[in-house]
């Protein structure tokens, strides 16, 4: 990645990656400014209190700076997770279902932040089960089924390309959407 061999270079690879995983968490007892300071240090950044305050303000978390992580709402926790993943302005940002379980307002807020990160340069790899999310924030979408990529294209091209596919038409309820394409190509059975 970026000219760095993966084998034996975990620290160097991680220094150019920003990661927000769904199944991970922060230390619940720490305040969010303490968490930003901790992760800044782990990414080899010396963040001053002023810069921590500025970063929190940009993420709309300045009023919560003294709150402990466990006292934040789901949306605020996800915004903090995105802020920390992006703290060292990584070349590649990996986001694992960043809006899972959020209310519509928080989801839209997070999409705006992802958009703003994308405009700032670098690449974002986002995994999601929400086709609405994929359609809103992604330039290219890869549909993965049983660990294999079955199609890759822009959201609009995927719809156009598969609009007449009988499997897609069978599950469509009116105008074909990206979700219809996804269900049509991956099958209608419920997944674990």
């Amino acid at each position: 990645m970026a000219g760095i061999e993966g084998e034996g270079n975990r620290s160097r690879i991680n220094s150019i990656l920003g990661v927000a995983l769904q199944s991970t968490s922060f230390q619940a007892e720490l305040s969010i400014s303490q968490l930003v300071k901790l992760y800044g240090g782990l990414y080899n950044l010396d963040l001053s209190p002023k810069n921590i305050a500025l970063a929190l303000e940009r993420s709309g978390l300045s009023e919560e700076s003294r709150k402990r992580f466990k006292q934040l709402s789901g949306g605020q926790q996800q915004r903090l997770s995105l802020l920390i993943a992006n703290i060292a302005r990584p070349l590649l940002l990996l986001l694992d279902e960043p809006t899972s379980g959020l209310d519509p307002q928080s989801r839209r807020g997070l999409w705006s932040e992802i958009e703003s990160n994308r405009r700032g340069g670098g690449s974002i790899l986002l995994t999601t089960h929400s086709m609405e999310e994929a359609q809103s924030v992604c330039d290219r979408v890869a549909i993965i089924d049983h660990g294999k990529i079955i199609t890759v294209d822009t959201p609009q091209n995927l719809i156009t390309k598969h609009a007449s596919d009988p499997r897609v038409l069978k599950v469509s309820r009116g105008k074909v959407t990206l979700e219809d394409v996804f269900i049509g190509l991956t099958g209608g059975e419920i997944r674990g």
């Binding site: 160097r12 968490s25 230390q27 800044g40 010396d46």
Partner: protein, 261 residues
């Protein structure tokens, strides 16, 4: 490194191990101060033993003041390792805190090194508190030279119990199971070591108990506090302690999983 967050310069180097440990240690200590119940319990239990046994009659029946001092330190350090440390590690693992830390550029070993360093510092502070309280309540004449000697043995004791605690979190994943087994192990070696060494359970059990982690540590402690002479058994007990650290430490590192799933 300069403060680069505001600029467009991207840091491309991982932090040095010292910088990573410093950041992690500060965070671990803040967590400890904010979840202090286990810590207070670990400090209060040896102090409680000293308070209830402060009369000279009780001291004589319980094996003398150096024995009580040894018992108090051992009780506190066992509680810190087998209850406080194991629970903290198992809980953070279940929450996914370790996995979140592992995707940063900090070397993975620094995450556990910081946890252990914090425990060692707390163990030394606890020992210092017990020494001061002992000198007041049990009227033990602790000389200036006794302090570094006792702190050194407390360090050895902390590593023995931390190695056992590490093997526990290495072999068990669920925080609930770790908590249950940790509580059981807290009582078992303590009782085996104490009752066995005292000889109330017979000679066979006594000769077994003096080679248990608690038995070996107590032998070294008592020799250092000049209650008994430093003899061949004490030297072998010291070797046994290093053996416990190596064996349990190996199991704890070899089988430790960062992820609870």
């Amino acid at each position: 490194m300069a403060d680069t967050y505001q600029g467009r310069i991207q840091p491309r180097s991982a932090p040095s191990p010292i910088k990573a440990i410093k950041s992690l240690f500060v965070a671990d200590f803040l967590v400890l101060t904010k979840s202090s119940r286990a810590l207070i319990a670990a400090i209060m239990s040896p102090v409680y033993v000293l308070v209830i046994s402060r009369s000279s009659k009780a001291q004589a029946k319980l094996g003398g003041s150096p024995f009580l001092l040894t018992l108090s330190v051992t009780l506190g350090l066992l509680s810190l390792s087998l209850i406080s440390y194991t629970l903290m590690v198992a809980r953070d693992r279940e929450r996914g805190v370790f996995q979140r830390l592992r995707v940063t550029p900090a070397p993975t070993w620094t995450i556990m090194a910081s946890c252990i360093l914090k425990q060692v510092v707390v163990s030394e502070v606890l020992t210092e508190i017990v020494l001061i309280v002992s000198s007041q309540l049990l009227h033990i004449n602790i000389t200036f030279a006794d302090y570094p000697k006792t702190m050194l043995i407390a360090l050895l004791e902390a590593f023995v119990f931390l190695a056992i605690a590490q093997s526990l979190v290495g072999l068990l994943k669920s925080a609930t199971t770790v908590s249950a087994v940790g509580s059981f192990l807290f009582a078992t070696p303590l009782l085996t070591g104490l009752l066995g060494v005292s000889g109330v359970l017979g000679e066979t059990f006594q000769s077994f108990a003096k080679w248990t982690p608690v038995g070996t540590i107590m032998a070294i402690f008592q020799a250092a506090l000049s209650q008994t002479q430093w003899d061949e058994h004490t030297s072998l007990a010291l070797l046994a302690c290093f053996g416990y650290i190596v064996v349990f430490g190996f199991i704890g590192v070899r089988y430790f999983k960062w992820d609870a799933r």
